[in-house]
Symmetry: C2
Subunit: 195 residues, 2 copies
């Protein structure tokens, strides 16, 4: 038989408090990631920054990786797959959004530290793979739709088209540090789907 | 007036010792980078691992960044620009070599930690830019040669072609972790130079 707890808050109020505390923890994780990269994020550091107890953090996220996954998957805005009527139009919208995020979003500064850690940590590699697969989804959708309506050859492997789009954008942002201007993003889309 | 040092070794012997000690330091830096990423490389750690005194290390490299630059630029093998007679042939050779390096060379494991640190450290960003510009050189050479002989339009920006080649390779190696197989590398070259 359960002991009665008169001071227990009503379920709605409790849900609200849980939601607030989870949000506080995710914000703290996100800020630590942006400031110091992955090595700055321990459950200890997140607890200190957020003021939320470690036991509470572990109640919501079983591991540091789970917490990172959750923080990362909330970091960038995820566009819906557009439907402009042409593959070129759809991809231009998506690429414009991606380039904008690469130029300004805090996750663009944080991503390399996750990529780096993933080289030596299989669990983080899985975190990253899941996060990235979400980023690919709208691209996959518009490419497959174009194949279904016969606009793009079904012989083309969608994953090659996706690599031809993300690759040059990521390359300029993190490797060569050249500008992601409109002339470049347009040429990326044209080259990726050229017959 | 300089004090006479009777025990001073002959110049040739001294040069040999300097060369040996520099090589030992670079090897230690390279090994530490491969094992632990950039955060594992301090001049202290390199001195301990190599057995070469910190003062000697600082005599050859004025800063940790200078040491990193030297170690990194010696990490991968740099191919000469090939001359097969066709741009496609030249690029296929270069891309095959790059894909091979991305699959097996230790620098492929280390590069993300330099990219990551470069986000927060301008000096390292310069180290990386200089290292990477050396990697681009043979690609730049074969592309410009193809433009000179009229095989590739002069309207094409060589830097766009380079991004269309490195981008998808780097993307698969570090971001999506998909295979860099021959079907993929061939499609990368074809797409990059397609008219």
């Amino acid at each position: 038989m359960k002991r009665k707890q008169p001071a227990k808050p009503a379920p709605v109020e409790r849900d609200e408090r849980v939601r607030h505390s989870k949000k506080t923890v995710l914000m703290a994780t996100y800020k630590l990631l942006s400031e110091a990269g992955l090595s700055g994020v321990s459950v200890d550091a997140v607890s200190k920054r957020s003021g939320v107890a470690k036991t509470t953090i572990y109640r919501h996220w079983p591991s540091r990786s789970a917490l990172l996954l959750d923080a990362c998957s909330n970091m960038g805005s995820r566009p819906q797959a557009p439907d402009t009527g042409s593959l070129k139009g759809d991809l231009e919208l998506l690429v414009k959004h991606t380039a904008q995020q690469l130029r300004t979003a805090p996750w663009a500064t944080v991503a390399p530290s996750i990529i780096d850690a993933a080289e030596r940590d299989q669990e983080l590699a899985n975190v990253h793979a899941r996060t990235h697969s979400g980023v690919r989804t709208p691209f996959q959708t518009v490419i497959e739709r174009a194949q279904q309506r016969g606009e793009l050859s079904r012989d083309l492997d969608p994953s090659h088209v996706i690599a031809a789009i993300f690759g040059p954008l990521f390359y300029r942002r993190w490797f060569s540090r050249e500008p992601l201007d409109e002339a470049f993003t347009k040429s990326v889309v044209e080259r990726a789907i050229r017959k």
